[in-house]
């Protein structure tokens, strides 16, 4: 039974997606019904699995044999953690499908959109339950393609195609390392099985896997694609770029945790610390509401990575779940605000508290969870990570002690900055003078928001009652104070009406431009040089042989077309030569 459930988990959304891709553009109702039904079925399946799976179970059948023990199975590896993550994925997917029906009500290409969302859901669930490394890779890559297709969904937006390509190419870069890492793991262990591959520590494969994680989860230095990916529709930002795909890298590290040696974890910790602060600082200076949330995602995923680095993968996964809930909530609510105001920019927003009460309260819950205010879920999950870091400082975890110190300090600093930008967002959108008419979103958009507010608020308490929370201590109180301090700073600045956004922060330390200069431009120059070489050298050689043959032919034709005197000269000259040859040869004999 577990096997059937596990198999159906990615298979049902995949079928729904394939059928949906065949629908004509007019069939909106059918597409919507299919999409919602697929997501609901996946959610129900995941809930059933979560209820049934108490310990790791595997199963599957053989797909192809490459020899030398390298066999690809279609197999699953179910753990309680996997089941819970699957539930989170299913929930967010369902919420997004319902929300999209209303958000994209005037979009002409809704059916392929819904089908692509179902396809993405299938791919993510495949990554979650896969027991075979190759199958994991397949899900990983399909997620990348769906992300590309969905970011570029609105073809009228001028920045969408470039953003989609950027997202795809940057994550692809990381995926090269990911593929190499998987290959090395499989060769070393003579098996593609996730369970066996994930048990043996190996530094080089771990570092290569981290490349893929950095790409997909938007960590430094491959984080530049995520803010630009906000050109996609808001529900997509909620699903892919907040709740699921960016968290997939963290999930894979947790899944293959045994591979990561102290060296690899140290690298991961440094990356996490840098990204945490980078994302948070960049978020304080953005004017586009979705960009604030995007940079916030970068920062929060770095939190999860930091948790992994200091040796508390369970805490990292817990933060993954709470982040999925509150970030998806924040994005969907931001979508409602954008829909009401008609613009992404916070300069056009203000005083929406009274006009959009439901949105206001849900977003408050989401921002509170983000900042880590008790009793909301974010408080508990962040504190678990910080506590884990503190433990690793005191009693050396799997990574070196200095890594834990770095992660702890970065985490605490980020808490303060997170409070700052969360408060800034909250004040600018909902307080101050009302700039125009606005209203709460329609029901299909409103209900997913409300429903996501529930786990954002309560998930932490549920875990608390399950008894895995260490309790309030000086660390959690200190973090809370830092968050409040950050919020207070933002409030003071807002009160004064000052809004100087330092250009350095607004451009995220110009890392995007650095990447552009170091990688993009040389590659484009190389590509155009290759193209020119191909046109002039290769094509030129081919066409040159044609041209050369024609020229030679024309030359010979001119000589052939000699007038009488020249022809006579040729004949007599030839006769002379023959005569001389005859004389010489006969004379020699």
């Amino acid at each position: 039974m577990n096997g059937v459930l596990a198999g159906a988990l990615p298979a049902v959304p995949l079928l729904v997606a394939l059928v949906g891709l065949l629908l004509p553009l007019r069939a909106r109702r059918t597409a919507a019904a299919l999409g919602i039904a697929g997501a609901a079925a996946a959610l129900a399946d995941a809930v059933a699995l979560a209820a049934r799976v108490k310990s790791p179970t595997t199963g599957g059948w053989r797909l192809v044999d490459f020899g030398g023990g390298l066999v690809v199975h279609v197999s699953y590896l179910l753990t309680p953690a996997a089941a819970v993550v699957a539930v989170a994925v299913g929930t967010v997917a369902l919420a997004v499908q319902v929300y999209s029906v209303s958000y994209l009500h005037d979009d002409g290409r809704y059916p392929p959109y819904a089908a692509q969302v179902s396809l993405f859901t299938a791919a993510m669930l495949l990554v979650v339950v896969s027991g075979d490394l190759i199958l994991l890779l397949v899900g990983w890559e399909v997620m990348g393609i769906c992300s590309y297709l969905l970011i570029g969904h609105d073809r009228t937006l001028p920045e969408a195609p470039a953003a989609a390509v950027k997202a795809f190419v940057v994550t692809r870069l990381g995926d090269v390392g990911f593929l190499l890492g998987i290959a090395l793991l499989a060769l070393a262990g003579h098996s593609f099985d996730v369970a066996t591959a994930g048990a043996r520590p190996a530094t080089i494969p771990a570092l290569l896997l981290l490349a893929g994680v950095a790409g997909k989860s938007a960590q430094f230095p491959l984080h530049t694609w995520l803010p630009d990916a906000m050109a996609g529709p808001t529900p997509i930002s909620a699903l892919i770029h907040a709740a699921t795909m960016v968290a997939a890298g963290v999930y894979v590290v947790a899944r293959l945790y045994g591979v990561f040696t102290p060296v690899a974890l140290a690298v991961l910790g440094v990356i996490a610390a840098v990204t945490m602060l980078l994302g948070a600082l960049a978020a304080t200076a953005q004017l586009d509401i979705k960009r604030v949330l995007a940079w916030s995602t970068v920062s929060q995923v770095a939190y999860m990575a930091g948790g992994l680095a200091v040796g508390v993968p369970a805490a990292a996964l817990f933060h993954l779940l709470t982040h999925a809930a509150f970030k998806a909530l924040l994005f969907l609510a931001a979508g409602a605000v954008i829909h009401a105001v008609g613009s992404n920019l916070m300069t056009r927003m203000g005083g929406l508290r009274a006009a959009m009460p439901v949105t206001f309260w849900s977003m408050t819950i989401g921002l509170g969870a983000l900042a880590g205010l008790p009793p909301l879920s974010g408080f508990f999950s962040k504190d678990q990570i910080l506590a884990g870091a503190w433990d690793a400082v005191r009693h050396a975890g799997p990574a070196p002690r200095w890594v834990a110190v770095v992660v702890l300090l970065a985490g605490l600093a980020t808490v303060a900055v997170t409070g700052w930008y969360a408060t800034r967002l909250w004040l600018r959108v909902f307080f101050g003078p009302l700039l125009g008419a606005a209203h709460d979103p329609p029901a299909l958009m409103g209900w997913p928001i409300i429903l996501l507010a529930v786990p954002s608020a309560l998930l932490g308490l549920v875990v608390q009652f399950a008894g895995t929370f260490p309790g309030l201590d000086w660390l959690s109180i200190g973090a809370l104070l830092l968050a409040v301090a950050g919020g207070a700073g933002a409030w003071r600045l807002w009160r004064r009406g000052a809004d100087a956004v330092p250009a350095v922060l607004a451009n995220a330390f110009y890392l995007d431009d650095v990447q552009d200069a170091l990688v993009v431009r040389p590659t484009l120059a190389l590509a155009s040089a290759v193209r020119r070489a191909d046109e002039s050298l290769v094509d030129g050689a081919v066409e040159g042989t044609g041209g050369g043959a024609l020229g030679l032919g024309a030359l010979v034709a001119r000589w052939h077309r000699a007038a009488l005197p020249r022809a006579a000269t040729a004949v007599l000259g030839g006769a002379l030569l023959i005569g001389i040859a005859a004389i010489v040869l006969v004379g020699l004999r």
Binding site: R561, A563, L564, P565, R566, A568, T569, L572
Partner: protein, 113 residues
């Protein structure tokens, strides 16, 4: 007598004849150069007749007579051709003679235009 002298004379006449054939543009002058060629050959034949004892006596001179007759016939026909060419094109330069139909039409258009 030393036969080398008339032989060499004939060789030089032949060379001059070839030069004339290849250099002259006027068709009549070309025919004159051809006559030089034929005369050189005749000279060789006659000298050979004087030098060599052939199976048939005087055969060299007989050949020379035949060559003279042939030359006369050739000049007659050749001049008829030259006149026909002149009538059509008003020019008897041999390097302007068209070699195929297309050139013929081009050039007759030029002439008639």
């Amino acid at each position: 007598m030393h036969p080398a002298i008339p032989y060499l004379t004939a060789a030089v006449l032949f060379g001059l004849g070839v030069y004339g054939v290849l250099t002259r543009r006027n068709a009549v002058l070309l025919l004159m150069a051809i006559e030089l060629l034929l005369n050189a050959v005749n000279l060789v034949l006659v000298t050979a007749d004087a030098t060599v004892r052939a199976a048939l006596p005087d055969s060299g001179q007989v050949f020379a007579l035949f060559v003279i007759v042939l030359a006369a016939a050739e000049v007659g026909v050749g001049l008829a051709l030259i006149l026909a060419l002149y009538r059509r094109r008003s020019s008897i330069a041999v390097d302007e003679i068209p070699l195929n139909e297309a050139e013929n039409e081009d050039r007759s258009e030029e002439v008639n235009a």
